[in-house]
């Protein structure tokens, strides 16, 4: 399994790091009460996805590198998401004077 790899680091090592990063991001997304930390957890999850794309692009698709193009698009979308998310957070903070996620129930029926 591992002896097929080119370098000293197998593909699975990158996948394991990315899986850990993704799960940490999911846990933080569920459990954070500070709204800024929720956005930071989302950035962690996007980075985990990017690590997966880049490692597959390097190990399996080394000549065409479609994964690198995809990760550039993911970085673009992440930047747009961070800008809009923080703007929503600022306007919420102006209306509610809190950033506690438990006190945001604007969209409840």
């Amino acid at each position: 399994m591992l002896e097929n790899s080119i370098g000293p680091v197998p593909l699975q090592a990158y996948l394991i790091v990315a899986a850990f990063l993704f799960c940490t991001g999911v846990w933080g997304l569920i459990n954070s009460r500070n709204a800024v930390r929720v956005l930071m957890s989302i950035e962690l999850m996007l980075n985990a996805v990017n690590i997966n794309l880049m490692s597959f692009s390097s190990y399996i698709d080394g000549a065409i590198i479609r994964g690198q193009v995809f990760s550039i698009f993911v970085i673009t979308v992440a930047a747009a998401e961070a800008a809009v998310g923080l703007a929503i957070l600022l306007s919420l903070y102006r209306n509610r004077v809190t950033i506690d996620m438990e006190s945001f129930n604007l969209l409840k029926w």
Binding site: Q12, F22, R33, S57, S58, I60, I65, A78, R94
Partner: protein, 200 residues
């Protein structure tokens, strides 16, 4: 094992340990300013992993966009909303954290099992190394041209949306506008370009 192999292995171990411990610190630390700075460290370690994967262009883009833009934006947001509020205690918070920790641990075990037991199609074609930047440019201007243009429209929409959402409405009474002697105080009030009255 020659020196290049051992250097790559040591670099990977250092970077992955920084990523693992840093992501835990981002999620678990009490002080959110520390979390934001550690998040910048995690982004830089991820860029180091990209360098190990022969992707210098994406590593530079990662540093520029994430550390230079997103992390600074998060720091600005923290400093704009930071008021050290005392959060109200909720009952059952401990059990909630434990249950979600169990769910995330299960997800982690599932992902590890998938990534280890799958027969990946290795070794693939040899990596093109430093020509990757040229190849990315060819991709962006030939077969990925439509997503590239859509990404630029998305960035424009995000910029306008962020401005519209975050701007502060200043209400000005008609008397202030009619009062010609108070032109200076009017300019001090910093009228927004679009106010609710001008839209109607």
């Amino acid at each position: 094992m020659n020196i290049a192999y051992s250097t790559e292995l040591i670099c990977f171990l250092i970077l992955s340990s920084v990523i693992v411990s840093g992501s835990l610190a981002v999620v678990l630390l009490e002080n959110i300013v520390y979390s934001a700075f550690i998040l910048g460290g995690v982004f830089m370690a991820v860029a180091g992993l990209y360098l190990l994967l022969n992707a210098s262009f994406v590593a530079a883009a990662q540093i520029l966009v994430y550390v230079g833009a997103v992390n600074v934006l998060i720091l600005f947001a923290i400093m704009l909303v930071n008021n050290k509020e005392k959060l109200k205690p909720i009952e059952g918070l401990k059990t909630r954290k434990l249950i979600s920790g169990g769910v995330c641990g299960g997800l982690l075990i599932l992902l590890l099992r998938v990534s280890i037991t799958t027969k990946w199609n290795l070794p693939g074609p040899s990596s093109i190394g430093e020509e990757a930047t040229e190849r990315i440019g060819e991709h962006l201007f030939t077969d990925y041209l439509l997503p590239f243009e859509l990404a630029s429209i998305l960035l424009l929409m995000a910029m306008i949306g962020a401005i519209v959402l975050a701007r502060r409405d200043v209400l000005i009474s008609i008397d202030d506008i009619n009062d010609l002697k108070n032109q200076k105080s009017l300019s001090d009030k910093k009228i927004p370009l679009l106010s609710e009255k001008s839209l109607k």
